[in-house]
């Protein structure tokens, strides 16, 4: 039955012959473990394509939304963190494997006649892989992405004559923005994949045309590609995949804060594989800069491209190709020292976080609870209840109350129905406000009453505004609220008062792509809500009791 189906397919398409031709290709007897890297690189390309498509199913390719949707992928979708991890670390693995593949070809002299074209096409593929890394870097639209791309586009703009055109092509004439994003996205998911598939096709075709390169002096009879070499390729691919999978599971791919063009404290650093270029740049200043950014990389690529036309003598055994070994060693040492130097000179981020912050009890209340304190004061509850050293002890001590929220709310509404004979007047507030008041009363404890009653009035008023505007529908404070926009704890370290006020009035001006609506508070309210935000502690309290 199966045989019949295969025969039918073979007759109509010739697929079986094609696969057999591919698998039973003859390869030199000397082929072996050193030649598995090309297959591994091809595997990573397919793996990146697969995880990339998966990400794109839940990714919104515009600034702002990009960040939101990526956070959604990583925090709300099961398996999303893993898929992003595979794609993120897969990019790094790809670079490593492609570099090792090149080094192998270099050491064994496999680029030599008649394989010059294969080598040149490989050099194009190397640049395509780097272009994937460069364009993909912007797509999370966090600070890292934004500032990294600012530097990239600035470097490109320094090119003599062409600089301005390059900048225009990247849509970055007026800084990195929506146009840049669209261009990088289109490159990353449309143009580069198409071109790369085509060029990989040519590369593989050329490898097949000339056959796998034999080692020096290999005159033994040829062997088949399948299953011996396919087995070796598979083992190598599997090992590389295990490393990638482990990385994706154990090390979370970074997603920083939403890109912020006004954040002057951010120190941009490129991805690790570009650090050597970044460090090289430091040696050249002013007009000489293009030597580091373009002339040297250009020379290096040219030298690599010329290699098969220079190395034309008799092929020696790999162990005796001393010039190649020395060149590779020198390159590796140079690359490593530049990269290490770049890492060492990177300042530690956010060193100030170590200082222990004194957090008052009222600072760890949720916005609702703190707003409850606002209503507590407004309704003049202290006229009959004590809190710390304030108030009159006419009614009961609230810090000792063991009632539930529901009890409190019905008691606020109709005190005498719940506690017959009570002298308490009903609290005439709307339901959400009563909820807040009850939430606040529930938080009262003998040991925090003094701190709560001392909370600054402006800040408490700010919490009331926060609650009234339902800021918690998109923001988190002390771990409470919905995480659509950025959590607000620690905003005092990230932003200035002026920034926050301006951001309220016109969010998109300061955070392009933000989905926050503008808020036009009057001056007094603006001050209150800003005071509230600036009073939030740096980090949400560990394990907020629920």
């Amino acid at each position: 039955m199966l045989r019949k189906l295969i025969d039918w397919l073979e007759h109509r398409t010739g697929i079986e012959t094609t696969i057999k031709n591919f698998l039973y290709e003859e390869i030199p007897a000397s082929a072996g473990w050193h030649q598995v890297l090309g297959s591994v690189a091809l595997f990573f390309f397919l793996c990146q394509a697969f995880t990339g498509v998966m990400l794109s199913f839940n990714y919104a390719p515009t600034p702002g939304d990009a960040h939101n949707s990526l956070r959604y992928i990583m925090t709300e979708l099961t398996g999303g963190r893993l898929i992003r991890g595979l794609h993120h670390w897969g990019a790094s693995m790809m670079i490593i494997v492609v570099a090792l593949h090149m080094v192998q070809v270099l050491l064994w002299g496999a680029y030599r006649k008649p394989r010059e074209a294969t080598w040149l096409v490989g050099l194009v593929l190397l640049q395509l892989v780097l272009a994937f890394g460069l364009t993909g870097y912007l797509l999370p639209w966090d600070n890292r992405a934004y500032w990294g791309t600012v530097v990239t586009t600035q470097i490109a703009s320094k090119a003599p004559v062409l600089g301005q055109y390059m900048l225009r092509l990247m849509g970055a004439e007026n800084g990195v923005g929506v146009v840049t994003f669209a261009r990088f996205y289109a490159l990353h998911v449309m143009l580069l994949p198409l071109v790369t598939v085509g060029i990989i096709g040519i590369h593989v075709f050329l490898v097949r045309k000339h056959g796998v390169a034999p080692s020096a002096g290999d005159t033994a009879p040829k062997k088949k590609f399948y299953p011996g070499q396919v087995f070796k390729d598979t083992i190598a691919i599997f090992a590389a995949f295990v490393i990638l999978f482990t990385l994706a599971v154990t090390v979370q791919a970074p997603l920083g804060r939403l890109a912020d063009p006004t954040d002057l404290s951010y120190i941009p650093r490129p991805e690790w594989y570009f650090l050597f270029l970044f460090e090289t740049l430091k040696f050249f200043e002013g007009p000489l800069e293009i030597i580091g950014s373009m002339v040297l990389p250009g020379l290096a690529l040219t030298a690599l491209a010329l290699l098969p036309f220079v190395d034309r003598g008799e092929l020696r055994k790999v162990t005796r190709r001393t010039t190649a070994i020395a060149a590779v060693a020198l390159g590796a040492i140079g690359w490593t020292s530049l990269t290490v130097a770049a890492i060492v000179t990177t300042p530690k981020e956010a060193a100030g976080q170590d200082e222990a912050e004194q957090i008052a009890d009222w600072q760890i209340l949720s916005a609702e609870e703190l707003a409850g304190l606002g209503y507590f004061r407004k309704e003049n509850c202290l006229a009959c209840h004590t809190l710390g050293d304030k108030g009159k002890a006419i009614g009961p001590d609230l810090t000792a109350s063991k009632r539930t929220a529901a009890w409190h709310i019905s008691h606020f509404k109709r005190p005498q129905e719940v506690v017959p004979g009570s002298a308490m007047p009903p609290v005439s507030l709307a339901d959400p406000q009563l909820n807040a008041l009850a939430a606040f009363v529930l938080k009262l404890k003998p040991n925090n009453a003094q701190s709560l009653v001392d909370a600054p009035q402006d800040v408490v008023d700010g919490a009331v505004i926060y609650q009234r505007q339902s800021c918690g529908a998109c923001h988190q404070v002390n771990g409470r609220g919905i995480k659509v926009g950025p959590p607000l704890n620690g905003v005092k370290d990230r932003r200035t008062r002026a920034w926050i006020i301006q951001h309220f009035r016109d969010p998109q001006k300061l955070s392009p792509g933000s989905t926050m609506p503008p808020y036009r508070f009057n001056d007094r309210d603006m001050e209150r809500i800003t005071n509230y935000l600036l009073a939030l502690p740096d980090r949400e309290p560990a394990a907020a009791e629920e």
Binding site: S69, Y72, I482, V484, T515
Partner: protein, 165 residues
């Protein structure tokens, strides 16, 4: 030339190739399937929206009301307009129906003469209690979760009716 002297070695190679590729495909495919099919772990609490005052709603006289509600749509919080048919089906009981026919989602309306809900698409009709009277609708009208606070009607999420029509 496959060395005929080593059939076991050859078999080992082939088994390994198939085995390892199966593992790789599984490790990539399974998370992808989970990622695409499992619903998001959303931490959004359903909220109650105060939609109308029902003191003017008379018995057996449903009214269509519109209101705004916020809802999480993928990675976005959106504020959208929503509609409900509110009906007082007895002195004490007020229900709110989702405004789509349970057949294929067309918007139905209240037929004043026949005193039932009529869907214009495939003429499904529903009684004021939401039960299917006629037509292809597979189940009664879906209801919003609702509660009354005095005369104020609060609506929560829509619950699909599971009764067979």
């Amino acid at each position: 030339m496959c060395e005929p002297a080593q059939p076991t070695r050859r078999r080992f190679h082939i088994t390994s190739i198939y085995g390892l590729w199966t593992i790789i495909s599984g490790a990539l495919g399974l998370p992808a399937v989970i990622y695409l099919l499992l619903p998001p772990r959303t931490r959004h609490r359903d909220e109650w929206v105060e939609v109308t005052d029902i003191s003017s709603l008379s018995l057996n006289q449903p009214e269509e009301i519109t209101f705004r509600r916020t809802r999480k749509d993928g990675w976005k919080m959106i504020s959208e307009k929503a509609a409900a048919w509110v009906a007082r089906i007895s002195e004490q009981e007020v229900v709110a129906y989702a405004p789509q026919c349970t057949h294929l989602g067309c918007a139905y309306h209240w037929d004043e003469k026949q005193k039932n809900f009529l869907c214009p698409c495939h003429t499904s009709t529903f009684g004021i209690d939401g039960k299917v009277l006629d037509g292809p609708a597979p189940r009664p009208l879906d209801r919003y979760q609702s509660k009354l606070e005095g005369t104020k009607l609060l609506l929560g999420p829509v619950v699909q009716s599971d009764e067979e029509g």
